[in-house]
Amino acid sequence: MSAESLILFFIVGAFLVGFALVFAHYVAPNSTNPQKAEAYECGIPTEGLTWLQFNVGYYLFAIVFLIFDVESVFIFPWAVVMKELGMIAFVEIVIFFFVLGLGLLYAWKKGALKWE
């Protein structure tokens, strides 16, 4: 009962959304006019491309996030056995953290953690 239940939850979730969408599609009133399909922008017709201006700020955080995500995933198994293994585990993680702390410090000093 593990992988199977996952599928189950997947299906139940999909079913909930799908059923509701189909139901609403058939039951809800429907009327169209040209304005309705246009993008909403405070009641003024949208001009220009709907496109966020290139903004490296968001992206840098995504990179740093990914790196730290990898890191945190590697710490999880360590955390589980930390209590049992004791000193060795502690030393290893101190080294691991030290290296990553350098990374964080670098990103900090470099201004990658400053949103702009």
């Binding site: 290139f54 490296v56 992206y59 990179i63 990914l66 790196i67 995500d69 990898v70 590697f74």
Partner: protein
Amino acid sequence: MFEGVPLHWFLITGTIMFFVGIYGFLVRKNLITILMSIELILNSVNINFVAFNKILYSDRLEGMFFTIFIIAVAAAEASVAIAIILNIYRRLVNIDVEKMNEMKY
């Protein structure tokens, strides 16, 4: 056999995925889609590793650890690759490999 699923099945799935990735790698011109094709290729390899580990050597963990490290390396690779792609985009307003004949970084 893993409770009814033969190893061949996994390998064939992995192979198809691998060659789909190769196809995308060859055909696609957008750098990001090329990167996605590479991820497909890596993923197919992972499936093979894991299937071998589970079905042939289920008392060992090498396949799994390899996969884990592959994923970690893939993450590092993706972050650097996308940094490069965005840099190219910023310079050339384009991320099409064929239009990047001037490497003026």
